[in-house]
Structures are given as structure tokens and as C-alpha cells.
């Protein structure tokens, strides 16, 4: 066998191993998703109203944070516009639920939000970093005030009551479907050329361009995809709240919380945003009522700790991470004692 042939065979073997590895990952991801879905499906059957409402909040943030990370995490374009798309979805739902029916209204919320994202993205996606973040935030505020103004002029009041409301379980299943869809789309996108392009944009946008990625198209597409999810979730949740006004559905807190969840969970990971969304919603429900300040403080503290000690997010936590922390702490402690001893020795000398 000539060496050229031989090395080809060896490489073929390596590639096969790699392919299998990927496939087991895919299997694992789908299995986890399947199990979580089954579990979440069962919640309305045995849970109290309180539990279901908590699970609903969980799922809402799972959908928001996972879809946010899908674009913003991979490309590192930190968007604060989630609230804008959420609110647009909520208003679409409020305006058309009587005439369209349930599923079309969810689709319409997603569609309108995606459309706005395409326009907004075309305007601001050439900016990076802080400029992009600040502008998306500014545009969210602009949309909120525009809607407030329009409501005052046209309807005379600010705020809308939704009268025709589907059952609790319908809303729950819809948001669950959106959350599952968000994770499923993330799993798929990570394995496509589109996902590879987004990753390239995040790593080195100009390099990706020179290798043939149409970055403008990829960015606008990714941004619209994220927005569609936020819009659909907004459309579903507005019905849950039965009364909406611009201050609640365009609340910047929705955008910030989504970003925080994704950051703490790990923006570049698949499961990070989901894990953090669950942790957050539980924290929110248990702490917000008894100690609202403690809730915000915990949030801030968790973010600081994550940024300092776990930059990859909760999903990057491994057993070895704990070992590393222990090593670091011991080294720090040893240094502290050495410094102290040296100081004492110096004091004795003088």
C-alpha cells in the first residue's frame, strides 16, 4: 500500500469517528429535548395553578433566551431589542385575535416582529459592540413611545383589554411548543451552513466575509429569526395577561432579563440559556413576592460571579471547574500567608 493511500484510509477513519461523535451529540441533544418536553407536557395534569403559571414563565424565558442566544450568542451582536419584538407580538395579538383566531395570530406576531427586525437590522447591523446594543435599546424605546402616542391619538386610551381568551392549557401548550421549537431550531442551525456562517461572524466577521460569507444577509436573517420567536412569545403571553399596555409589554426589563439569562447560562452554548431560564424563573417566583430587592440583588450578584469566574456560563460548568476553583483558592491562600509572614518578618527586623 502506498503511503498516500494509507494516509487517506487513516483520515477516512478519523472522519468517520468524528461523524459518529457528532451524531451521538445530536442524539443526546434530541433525547434531552424529548425528555424535557414530555415532562413539561405533564405539568398541567398534576400541577396547581401556581405551578403551571411558574412553568409558563420558565418556558417563556427558555424560548426568549434560547432564540436570543441563537443569533446574539453566536455572532456576539448583543441585542437589547427583545422587548420591542415581544411588545410588537403582544400588540399584534391584541389587535387581531378576534378576527384571526389563535394559531394565525401567533404566526402573525412572529411575522410582524420579523419584518420589523429586517428593517431595524438593515439600519443598525453594520454597527458592532456597544453602538449596536445602545441603538437596539434606543429603537425599542422609540417603538414603545410611538405605540403609546398612536394609542392616545387613535383609541383615546392607553392599554387594551383582551376579551376573547383561550384556555389556560392552550396558552401553556403554545408557549411550550415555542420553547421546544426554539431549542430544536438551535440544534438544527448549529449543524447547518447558516450556523457556521453566524459562528464565523462572531469569531472574525471580516475574515468570514473574505471566505465568502454574505454577512449582511446572514445577520439580517439571524436577527429576524430571533425576533420571530420573541414576537410569537409576546403574542401568546399577551393573552395570558388579558390586559396590556406599552409600559408592560415593551418593558426594557424583558430585554435585559433575556440577555442576563443567556449570559449567565452561557451565550455560546445550546443548553445554557435553558438552564439559566429555569433557575431564574424559580428564583423570580420565590423571591419576588417575599423580597423583591433580594431578587434583583441575587440577579446582579449571579451575573458578577459568572462574568468573573465562569465566563462560559453555567453550561460550561464541569467537575474539573470545581477542582480548578479549589486550586486557585489554595494558591491565593498560600500567597496571602506568605505575604503575612514576610510582613511580620519585616516588622520584627525594624
Amino acid at each position: 500500500m502506498n503511503p498516500w493511500r494509507e494516509s487517506r484510509v487513516r483520515r477516512l477513519g478519523q472522519r468517520l469517528a468524528q461523524g459518529l461523535l457528532d451524531r451521538t451529540h445530536l442524539g443526546r441533544d434530541l433525547l434531552v429535548l424529548f425528555a424535557l418536553t414530555g415532562w413539561a407536557l405533564a405539568v398541567p395534569h398534576y400541577g396547581s395553578d401556581f405551578v403551571v403559571s411558574m412553568a409558563l414563565t420558565c418556558l417563556m424565558y427558555v424560548a426568549l433566551a434560547t432564540s436570543w442566544a441563537l443569533f446574539c450568542g453566536t455572532t456576539r451582536y448583543l441585542s437589547l431589542a427583545t422587548a420591542a419584538f415581544f411588545g410588537i407580538g403582544a400588540y399584534t395579538s391584541a389587535l387581531f385575535i378576534d378576527s384571526l383566531g389563535w394559531w394565525p395570530v401567533i404566526a402573525a406576531g412572529a411575522g410582524v416582529a420579523a419584518l420589523v427586525a429586517v428593517v431595524m437590522g438593515s439600519a443598525v447591523l453594520h454597527l458592532r459592540g456597544t453602538y449596536f446594543a445602545v441603538l437596539t435599546f434606543g429603537m425599542t424605546e422609540l417603538i414603545r413611545h410611538a405605540v403609546t402616542y398612536w394609542e392616545k391619538q387613535v383609541t383615546g386610551t392607553v392599554g387594551r383589554v383582551l376579551t376573547v381568551v383561550p384556555e389556560r392549557d392552550t396558552i401553556y401548550l403554545t408557549v411550550l411548543a415555542l420553547a421546544v421549537l426554539a431549542v430544536a431550531v438551535s440544534i438544527v442551525v448549529r449543524r447547518t451552513r447558516f450556523g457556521l456562517g453566524l459562528m464565523g461572524i462572531g469569531a472574525d466577521e471580516q475574515r468570514a466575509q473574505t471566505l465568502g460569507v454574505n454577512t449582511r444577509l446572514a445577520k439580517i436573517g439571524g436577527f429576524a429569526l430571533t425576533a420571530a420567536f420573541a414576537g410569537a412569545v409576546g403574542a401568546a403571553m399577551s393573552v395570558r395577561w388579558t390586559y396590556i399596555d406599552p409600559a408592560t409589554v415593551f418593558s426594557p426589563f424583558i430585554g435585559f432579563q433575556t440577555v442576563l439569562i443567556a449570559l449567565i447560562g452561557g451565550i455560546a452554548t445550546l443548553w445554557g440559556p435553558l438552564i439559566a431560564a429555569v433557575v431564574f424563573s424559580l428564583l423570580a417566583e420565590t423571591l419576588r413576592l417575599q423580597a423583591p430587592q433580594a431578587y434583583l440583588m441575587t440577579l446582579g450578584l449571579l451575573l458578577i460571579l459568572c462574568v468573573l469566574y465562569l465566563p462560559g456560563g453555567l453550561a460550561s460548568l464541569r467537575w474539573s471547574t470545581f477542582g480548578q476553583w479549589r486550586e486557585d483558592t489554595r494558591a491565593w491562600w498560600r500567597e496571602l500567608r506568605r505575604d503575612k509572614r514576610r510582613d511580620e518578618a519585616r516588622e520584627n527586623a525594624t
Binding site: 487517506r8 464565523g200 469569531a203 475574515r207 466575509q209 471566505l211 465568502g212 454574505n214
Partner: protein, 246 residues
């Protein structure tokens, strides 16, 4: 090749505010040419390269690939036209494996382009640039000179017709420069690739190329064979004086 040059610059000017980095440079590059671009620091070599690869849009002038006007198009359009480039400091995707870095170009600009067996797939490109053994390592973990080879490999993965090399020999040892030059020659000979090569070390470059363009303060002051260029009075005065005399 419909008689048009692979790439043609007509009066390309690039201005940054008040500074004119490239000033009305015209040049045409035919298939299979191995061209060097030299010039003192700040002569506008890299800016000219950025214009040739679409990274910077020219303030004035036009760019044509195979007679098709590309002025103002994004870098991905240049890549789709078979124009590939490397960067002065290697810009590889550090977290991805060496093989995945090659795969990136194959997935995008190189996707629908036919190619010779030399650039058939990931493995053949790795073999060509001599990084087969490092294929599974993360790109950030290989040595700087290997990263430079990987840069070339990434550019080759777009299956180009023209390759822009920005100081690929900088910081390499004499032997490494020699094998780099051999690789470039081989690419040109076997793929009929047009190669445009910028190098700061003039004497190195003059040994390997067949045509030299000299830039000085953004303007083209000479264009010819290395032997012609080193005798050009303007070039000698601008730049080469000491180095060639020595």
C-alpha cells in the same frame, strides 16, 4: 478566460479623510502570473490589497474581475469571483480545529467552484500545505508559522483563481521562507493561479517573482521584471538604494 485579465484595477484611489493611501493605481493581472508588490512603509501596499479584495471600497476608480465590474461590492462577492486573500497577522478561527478552518472556505466561497484534485477536499488541502498532522488541533494551538500556512490553506479552500498574499514570509526563517516560496510557485504552476505577493523584505521577494510593482506614497512608480525595476532610477531613489547596493 474570455481574454480579460483575472483582476484589473483602473485608477484606484483610497482616501481616509485627508490622507490619500492609494493614489490612482492601475494594474492588470493575467492568469498564472506571479507578481510582487513592494514599497517602503506606508506606501499603501496593504490598503491596495484591501481594495483588491473588497475589504475597502475605493474612493475613486474601478475594479474588474474577468471584465466584470466589482467596485463597491462586499468581500464575499470578490471571494465568489475567485479572489482569495490572506491577512498580515494570521486571522484563523482559533477555537476551531485546523481542519474545520479549512472546511469553512469550502463551505462558502469554495462550495460551487470546480477545482483541481489538489483542492478537492479538506484532506487534500491539508496535505498540500503540510498540516495533515495538525488537522485535529485547535488552530490557536499551532505555531505562528503553521498558522500562516493555515491562512493560505483557508484562502485556497475558497478554490480561488487569484491569491493575494500579505507578507506571508514575515518573521519566518530563511528555510521556512524558501519552502513557502516553493509552495507558492507550486500553486501557481499546478493550479494556474495568479499570485500577488506583498513582502516587506524586498530582496526575498525579488528572488521569487517574475514581475514587480513598486508603490511609493500611494502611487505606482514602476512595473516590470525584477531586473528592470532595480535599475529604475525613481525606484532606487525612493526605496531600494541601500538595500540593493549592499
Amino acid at each position: 478566460m474570455n481574454g480579460h485579465p483575472q483582476l484589473e484595477a483602473r485608477g484606484v484611489t483610497v482616501r481616509f479623510g485627508g490622507l490619500t493611501a492609494v493614489d490612482g493605481v492601475s494594474a492588470a493581472f493575467a492568469a498564472g502570473e506571479l507578481v510582487g508588490i513592494i514599497g517602503p512603509n506606508g506606501a499603501g501596499k496593504t490598503t491596495f490589497f484591501n481594495a483588491l479584495s473588497g475589504v475597502v471600497a475605493p474612493t475613486a476608480g474601478d475594479l474588474y474581475a474577468h471584465g466584470r465590474r466589482l467596485t463597491g461590492a462586499g468581500p464575499h462577492r470578490y471571494a465568489a469571483q475567485g479572489i482569495a486573500r490572506t491577512f498580515q497577522t494570521p486571522r484563523v478561527f482559533g477555537e476551531l480545529s485546523v481542519a474545520a478552518n479549512i472546511d469553512f472556505g469550502l463551505q462558502f466561497a469554495g462550495r460551487h467552484r470546480k477545482s483541481s484534485w489538489l483542492l478537492k477536499d479538506e484532506d487534500s488541502i491539508l496535505h498540500l500545505i503540510g498540516l495533515s498532522a495538525q488537522a485535529r488541533l485547535p488552530a490557536a494551538a499551532v505555531t505562528p508559522s503553521q498558522q500562516r500556512l493555515l491562512e493560505i490553506g483557508m484562502a485556497l479552500a475558497t478554490r480561488p483563481r487569484l491569491l493575494l498574499l500579505d507578507e506571508v514570509a514575515a518573521g519566518l526563517t530563511e528555510a521556512e521562507v524558501d519552502s513557502m516560496a516553493q509552495l507558492i510557485r507550486r500553486l501557481r504552476d499546478e493550479l494556474d493561479l495568479t499570485v500577488i505577493w506583498i513582502e516587506h523584505a524586498v530582496t526575498t521577494l525579488l528572488r521569487y517573482v517574475e514581475r514587480v510593482i513598486v508603490l511609493h506614497q500611494g502611487r505606482k512608480i514602476a512595473d516590470g521584471t525584477p531586473a528592470e525595476v532595480v535599475r529604475n532610477a525613481e525606484v532606487v531613489e525612493a526605496y531600494l538604494g541601500d538595500e540593493v547596493a549592499a
